[in-house]
Symmetry: D2
Subunit: 342 residues, 4 copies
């Protein structure tokens, strides 16, 4: 069997560990062969391939990024040629299955290709942890650890200057990173897309913290919207990569807080360092296991399925289940965290 | 309501986060009060208390160790006086409930006290992750991250000198730390208590790695036994604290491997640094949530119960369920990891 | 003898270690006493004091920020009252000496106070490492390590997407952080205030890197100016705290590079996380030694002097020497780094 | 010009950065070529070479270990053939100069080869920082940071259990790592080879710490000897690699302290993780600069010289100067640290 793997969408710690897990697992089945499509679906539609074997994936579990490269190409858009073209590429290159590692867009494409009769399985990838059907996705743990360490550092500066600092973390539609990093770092408020709040409420928290003699630290997800703030102002819906450099939500909130409370306030945005570099051990294990299990899906010809984490187990689910709606922070989880606020 | 909390047994990153979570959650219920028993059950039997409030637990989520101190005192042993004495202490100090944070021994004591009619709930604590009924216990994630980083470092030395290095990690009865750190760091063999292996098998792995031009790195749990090795030689069953300084299993394996393969081999034992210090964000979140949920158990008077992680949820389980047998590494998980060996 | 210590200006890892070093050293001389002025010179002019002893400074060497708080108050400005007022405060509080920890402004004030006959010594503090007379200042090493780790992480994302990423680090007038972090992380170009470069030169480097198949990573100090760019556009001269949120130099460079080279380019600014949090071991040792040595200056009544690092030794220098002009990156050091560019 | 580089002796973070610095610097001189000798002097005497160019050293500055491998082969011992053989190898492989990266043994060999007329220059390498003529050697900073982080972690466990913990770090003849890590982590005693102390003195420190309500943490260099303890018992003089597994000095001290003070005491040895893995930014910059400067020595034909750090400058010194006696911790530095003890 000859399997082709691709990685698509934004960078995410653990992509290389998925590739390594899949290749090493596959290498145990005699006759199996592995190739990589370069730069996501672009490599599929252009038949841009590289050979993958035990030697190629050596040491990859701890390496950030993806040796295959990534892109945001969608096989159903533009001149990609859709299923027919991909079917032809597979045939011409004697590839028996595609293992697609990507987010909602990639998985939806994978599902549609499978429905069109192509041999495709998926591995869910979202640094924001917002895909349903999996308890956690790889990369998320690393992002939370990095964000937490940054907030830990920033807090001492807030205290030294008796300032309020607003820290913006990733999370366009779902606030998981803010929720976890905020709880871990003991933030005095956590603001997430799922829970619009008014500036009055935020300032009440800030004042209460200051009243206890402390310097308020707020963790805000990039997709948070103030109650009453239109999406146009919040930049929600814009890709982090495409977002104009007007500054993010933290840059909007800090001066508002300062104006309302009289407390000096500053903003800082954590940026790309959250999504690159060496994955945490947690993400390496999860990504490796997902990569290995995806090979099982291929062997079992479970086209249109993907691997997922449930508790401590790797299971198989239909891609449909994972993509029909995003996994948002439930209100109970937000309220649990909010017990620690203010 | 006046709640007393204690932390018992070996150090574990996240203990302070449990204390903080419980105190902050409780402080939201008017009329609640919190005290800490110092040095585990010893503080209970001796009525050695400290007041705990919002101010006392400030900044604790990221602090290693336990501000309450710990000990290995068992309330059912020696001159502790058992349930009667504890009942008297609670009455004299107007304490309405005990929140016991500890491992198998502490939880078993908690269950027996609850059976004797005392108001006790539990929070599971085991750095080895070997308690049933909870997917993960806090501290384990931190230990795995530390061990993985150490193995990452040690690997470059193995490669530079073309040596085999055997790294001993914690895990007396269960190999979870070795399994996860070994997978994360790409170890060439993982040896755990649940899976005795012969020196011949180990050397086969070592030789196969060397044959591919690499320097073998082996991760071994302290409780691993060679097939045919008696427990007396393996030190299994001795407490890590009490274990005589004869050297651990890594010190036994390295010279055996060198003798059998002719490959220079060295041993290193990671030691106490695995179980202290700043908890990972993952453990801070888990420990905080467990501490908060334990207060709910108290409010609901679920004596004899403990909190646990299932998937992404904190649930309540009977302590019985968690303590009737240890959670060992299942054979499937070991075989999954073994796909990557050799 | 009764010594008062103050910390002034921007946050810097190691401030607490200086305080601890000074207090512990002093506590060895019988009869010595220590107090802290709160929030920099503001605490001096307002006689806002806190007692400092062995117990107060426990565990401080690894704690970020400053337990005394900081401010940007200048004793010679506004209603501070200058030397006369300070002299009165010292007399009224029986304080025999001031140990001032701060940057150029604070040290200049300390020198002028000493010239006016007041008993003041200094400890140099600049995260940018731009004070003359000392090889390194504490905090700088930590900032470089944090920036380097961030660039390491960001690089994998640049490679995965074949993008150019411009990373902005601290350094308003001197490019030391950019120079060191850029060299350590293997940046393809380093841009510093001391060395204006044209956009044409920068794009030549970027194209050359791309030509070798790599994703260009550029480290730029916040104070860098393009050749021909007026200061008004570069924001140079504005305080990092006061700088309007127009975006920094990285936000200016990235779109220019993309426009000139056609290579997708992104900007990221590391922000406050560079200047807070746990100090590196290097900075803890340096800060501790400086704090201890400053007490020697007090005992020797070397008013108007400050401590400094020369090679591996802590020496005493006149504040004059350290403040008459900033320590910029010499051209040879920039050329040395530039050998590795492009 | 064709230059050959070798790395010799124990692993040390920064070796790869030296190689990269030298190769990149050299690649700027047209006509220069670089080769690596594999496994130290063994590769020289056996003419075991690998080609090195810009591509080979890509990304090496942050990679631990050495891509050339290392060994303890001495060209003047055994069947190596001495200068004549090496001279022949150089001629046969058209190599114009040797750049030797190593410790005292390697540098002494380099000096003797230069005296015999061979074109050899040196780069000093010692994780223990015990070579004279250089303020710091690369790798030392990384080792101190790792040791400090470990002691930070271990301290919380000591406090939780009210135990004394003795942490053994590297340092056979010189106590630099113990001195720096001990100061950084706030150890209650630092024990180094240069300063024998009696068990009575150590226990006085331990008791004084305990008396203040704290858990004593002692940092001891592996080469420390108790006053009156013969070298045979202290294992001093044995190579860390060859040292029998009787346990180190920490394993000797802990039970003695417990016996004398009645305070529960434990030992832990940090081991190989101190000398491998990703170098700190400090070490990457230092190693890169040393590698680049060594190429200058070659170009200037300064045979028998080596590069060294003085203050912030890289200078050239005779190898003689660096090797005629080790750089030990001066008594003033020890006394400075001892101000913070007990």
């Amino acid at each position: 069997m000859r399997i082709g793997i691709l990685t698509s969408g934004g960078d995410c710690p653990g992509l290389n560990a998925v590739i390594r897990g899949a290749v090493l697992k596959s290498s145990r089945f005699p006759g199996n062969e592995f190739v990589g499509f370069k730069y996501g679906w672009r490599g599929v539609v252009n038949a841009d391939l590289m050979h993958l074997d035990r030697q190629t994936v050596r040491g990859l579990s701890k390496q950030g990024g993806t040796i295959l490269g990534s892109s945001r190409t969608n096989p159903f858009e533009g001149p990609c040629g859709g299923p027919e073209n991909i079917s032809r590429v597979l045939k011409e290159n004697r590839i028996d299955a595609i293992l697609a590692v990507g987010g909602e867009g990639t998985l939806t494409a994978a599902r549609r290709l499978a429905e069109a009769g192509l041999p495709v399985v998926g591995v869910p990838k979202t640094i924001d942890n917002d895909l349903a059907a999996t308890d956690y996705s790889f990369g998320f743990n690393t992002a939370v650890e990095i964000a937490t360490e940054a907030v830990d550092r920033i807090r001492t500066t807030a205290e030294s200057h008796q300032r309020c600092i607003v820290v913006e973390v990733m999370g366009r539609n779902a606030g998981w990173i803010a929720l976890h990093a905020g709880m871990a770092a003991g933030a005095h408020a956590i603001l997430i897309p799922e829970q619009p709040r008014s500036i009055a409420q935020i300032c009440e928290w800030v004042n209460s913290v200051r009243h206890r003699g402390r310097a308020p630290v707020i963790v805000v997800a990039e997709g948070f919207v103030l109650e009453g703030m239109t999406e146009a102002h919040s930049h929600k819906g814009l890709d982090a990569f495409e977002r104009p450099r007007l500054g993010g939500i933290a840059d909007i909130l800090a001066p508002m807080i300062e104006a309302h409370t009289g407390i000096e306030s500053r903003a800082t945005t954590l940026g790309f360092a959250q999504r690159g570099g060496v994955p945490s051990a947690y993400d390496r294990v999860l990504a490796t296991r997902l990569g290995m299990a995806a090979v099982d899906l291929v062997v079992q010809e479970q086209w249109g399925s993907m691997v997922a984490l449930r508790g401590t187990k790797i299971v198989s689910v239909s891609i449909e289940e994972a993509t029909h709606k995003p996994k948002l922070v439930p209100v109970q989880r937000y309220e649990e965290a909010a017990f620690l606020f203010g």
